[in-house]
Amino acid sequence: MNMILHRFLAAFGQYLILMGKVFSLPERWRMFLKQYVKEMSQLGVDSIGIVLLISFFIGAVICIQIKLNIQSPWMPAFTTGYTTREIMLLEFSSSIMCLILSGKVGSNIASEIGTMRVTQQIDALEIMGINSASFLILPKILGLLTMIPFLVIFSIAFGFIGAYATAIMGVITVDDLTLGLLHDFNQWYVWMSIIKSLFFAFIIASVSSFYGYTVEGGSFDVGKASTNAVVRSSMLILFADIFLTQLLS
């Protein structure tokens, strides 16, 4: 137990030191902006496809499940639409979507930085007098923080489109679904979803970068770091979700 606590504290200390190095002013704004735009594209724009696809199908499946398992003659007709909206807004489009992104984006970040570490590309940056942590990690964190609200909004929208697709299949009528989606709508829930996703985006980018940056060894260790990055950031997202939901509700 002591050993585990010691290892956790040592890793947490290393993480804080790394973040201290990351949050410093860029040496060249021109290069920083170039990296920032590249990361927004690589981490955000390239994730749109998977976010839309998963959100569409989950929206549809939630709608079908609610209709089949909860909707009954003595419940209002808008229940299915209402519940679908609440699930998408409150949990799926922020927390679950970020868990999925921690797999895609987190492993991408950890393996990219980890490979740079083991092939001495990070050493090459350091030798040139560049703050490699800030140069590599800051654009990733800011890039993902910039793109995540858009991904959340796209996810919500495509979840609803998926729900409407079930209306075409005859699971629910369009009028009932629309009524449910609009019933007792609380705008704060959208903001809550976005605020939560910003915290999760920071966790994904910073934790994955930490595991990639601190790799020692070869390709086997890069693979291990990539797995660790996904597992640890997923766990942290789940923990953070509890506190943020409590705090923001």
């Binding site: 060249r28 290069m31 001495q120 090459a124 040139m128």
Partner: protein, 253 residues
């Protein structure tokens, strides 16, 4: 000129470098040689500042790198160029972008001038025509030449090469050696090469430091190696039949 004074390096209880004193001269190809595990890579890392010595001084033209603050170290680092064993090219960038990278980071020249300088460096290492290729699309020898072009882009005062011939065939190794030697003489750089390639030692070894189990065992040049009576050095240098025969032939001549 780079000078090491009483340099020690330990990892926890294990002492890897012990009281290293050496001078690496300007305009010369200075070689650090030694068996695998002798501590030469650790020594190189201490010189360039990737590791901090436990004790001792690393003097860059009289300025102690170890005692400098971060800002001063960054400024010195901008006078360094380094060629890594694996070339360490940025694999998401083209050859031209790799060479332009230090210029983009530190030069105040406009885009056209930076590109002109990068193309000049690529021509200098005979790599004209490969500008738009990615590092993964070119051979190991070409990658090393791109690394040399990147290292000299900012006209460094100090050039470091960590096993530059590693993984290259003997002919390509000679090309790389000659290139490093020519550039060192041309730009009056202080060049330190970490190697265990005996062809390099005999070809461009103007000042050679032999490291044995973390200590400086011998220092001299390629001609003095032939006549050295140091047993450890001889057993390392003349381990191969070919070099033993060369030595015998030299002795008979």
């Amino acid at each position: 000129m780079i000078e090491l004074r009483n340099l020690y390096k330990s990892f926890e209880d294990k002492e890897v470098l012990h009281d290293i004193n050496a001078v690496f001269e300007e305009g010369k190809t200075n070689l650090i040689i030694g068996q695998s595990g002798s501590g030469k890579t650790v020594l190189m890392k201490n010189i360039v500042g990737l590791l901090t010595p436990t004790r001792g001084q690393v003097l860059y033209d009289g300025r102690d790198f170890v005692q400098m603050n971060k800002r001063e170290q960054v400024l010195i680092r901008r006078e360094m160029g380094m060629i890594f064993q694996s070339a360490a090219l940025f694999d998401s960038m083209s050859v031209l972008e790799n060479v332009m990278f230090p210029l983009d980071m530190f030069s105040d020249q406009n885009q056209a001038d930076r590109e002109r300088r990068a193309r000049f460096c690529l021509e200098r290492v005979n790599l004209k025509g490969a500008e738009n290729k990615l590092p993964g699309e070119i051979s190991g020898g070409m990658q090393k030449r791109v690394a040399i072009a990147r290292a000299i882009a900012l006209n460094p005062k100090y050039l470091f090469c960590d096993e530059p011939n590693s993984g290259l065939d003997p002919k390509t190794s000679l090309v790389i050696d000659d290139l490093i030697h020519d550039i060192t003489t041309e730009y009056r750089m202080t060049t330190i090469i970490n190697t265990h390639d005996m062809n390099s030692v005999m070809g461009i070894g103007e000042n050679i430091v032999y490291i044995y189990q973390g200590q400086k065992e011998w220092q001299g040049n390629k001609d003095q190696i032939m006549t050295s009576t140091n047993e450890r050095l001889n057993s390392f240098i003349f381990a191969s039949d070919l070099f033993r025969k060369v030595k015998e032939a030299n002795g008979n001549a």
